[in-house]
Symmetry: C2
Subunit: 267 residues, 2 copies
């Protein structure tokens, strides 16, 4: 097997990371992709750092056995807590979802401005985005807003229902007065609410889709290492730690991803 | 200290059980009450049975040291998984929230009928209510419906906002056609949405508030044992395992409970 034929590994605590999978699939149709969803232990946001590091390391070892050439940690909590530990055990490059989103926001606002970071309560409380933005672009004025109803709305398949728009207005309308320049979708579920959120914020606010930003960063990484697979149609494989049927059903309903058979790997 | 002066212990994984606390406080103003919220480990619904039993046993021992005369497990998950184990270590009577709700539904429909049980995904998947209803009232026709947005709506303090009504309609309107006779609020958070839910279901549907049912059952239990405290104004004490300020703030905002200082006990 040529190195470029080896798969890209992606993992998340559940199915949110499928937005990263989808962005990658669209951008790099030739890549072989393997996705792992830790559905037995979702959510990571309420677990201790030690637990998240331990789970992430197990999944990394599993994906390394599958001979991946690049690992994308498509989970905000694991990206915030476990990247250093994962890099210690991984001979292949490892990327999270926070830095690509932060870099995209910084690039979109080269002259400074106001950034609103949306995420789960756990992500917002971790202040991972504020810290990363302060390091990457100290001139930006950053506010974080937890939007705990967004994930269940996505998982109910309600993104196009009036309730999604109403909840988005409830969370975000107060920020319209504050002249926000960019909004970061700081949770891998949120790109599924991108249109609704964009409509609430209005056309002047740049919406930073961290799933797409991660896919673009992955392409750049593969390109720079000469590892891009220029084949025509890559294979897609899905593995979860629990409830494969529910995963397959939601992947289809929420993102139009036809998973085929989803394998189960328990730890 | 007289036996009747000893406190009633109540515990939940978080703050939902405060609806049981409040119902008890209204019904039995003379009782001394001690509430424990396991806010460091909430939610229990996604944990293994072994973990829920272990946490519940720790909390039970803590409350027994406080010389409680009755223990109310104000958490559906612990009521479903841990009651037997708790009873093994408790010399005082132990009550859950499932049986009182089920008994109230059975009493409300002596000639049979259709019952809709609402709860979290974890509670509905456990089928604890269906099993308890089948045992208590086999003639009832039971349907369960998971309403995962209800808890975050309550915890955001949005019970009176239009979004609460819209979400309740989204979940429950399809059941209006099916001639439901009674709806059980099978999650200790849900009594805070009682009015909204009642409005969606219409006046013919009996709403069974399991928090109030548990308080009534506790009064009956204390009365039968001669343990009722007929004093004028009992003391209230609150202990949590994490984030006491947030707990105190939400207790005030959501239920109008002025907790005073909330103590912290870590396990």
């Amino acid at each position: 097997m040529k190195d470029s034929d080896r798969p890209v590994g992606i993992f998340d605590s559940g199915l949110g990371g499928l937005t990263v999978f989808k962005a990658l699939r669209d951008l790099l149709p030739g890549e072989n992709l393997i996705y792992f969803g830790d559905t037995a232990r979702v959510p990571y946001g309420t677990k201790s750092a030690q637990a998240v590091i331990s789970f992430s390391s197990e999944i990394t070892r599993f994906l390394l056995e599958r001979r991946i050439k690049l690992l994308i940690v498509a989970c905000n909590t694991a990206s915030s807590l476990a990247l250093d530990e994962i890099r210690k055990i991984s001979p292949v490059p490892v990327m999270g979802v926070i830095k690509p989103g932060v870099d995209a926001a910084a690039a979109a606002l080269p002259h400074g401005g106001r950034v609103l970071v949306t995420g789960t309560t756990a992500t917002v409380n971790s202040r991972a985005y504020s810290r990363a933005l302060a390091a990457a672009a100290p001139a930006l004025d950053v506010t974080e807003k937890a939007c705990p109803l967004f994930v269940p709305i996505v998982e109910e398949g309600w993104c196009s229902k009036p309730v999604a728009a109403l909840v988005a207005r409830e969370y975000l309308a107060p920020f319209r007065r504050r002249k926000i320049d960019a909004l970061i979708l700081g949770c891998t579920h949120y790109p599924m609410l991108k249109r609704v959120i964009a409509r609430v914020m209005g056309p002047k606010v740049k919406i930073v889709d961290s799933a797409r930003a991660a896919a673009l960063a992955a392409r750049a990484e593969l390109e720079s290492r000469g590892l891009l697979n220029r084949g025509r149609r890559g294979a897609s494989e899905f593995v979860v730690s629990d409830a494969p049927e529910r995963f397959s059903d939601l992947a289809g309903r929420l993102l139009g991803i036809r998973t085929g058979r989803v394998a189960v790997k328990r730890f």
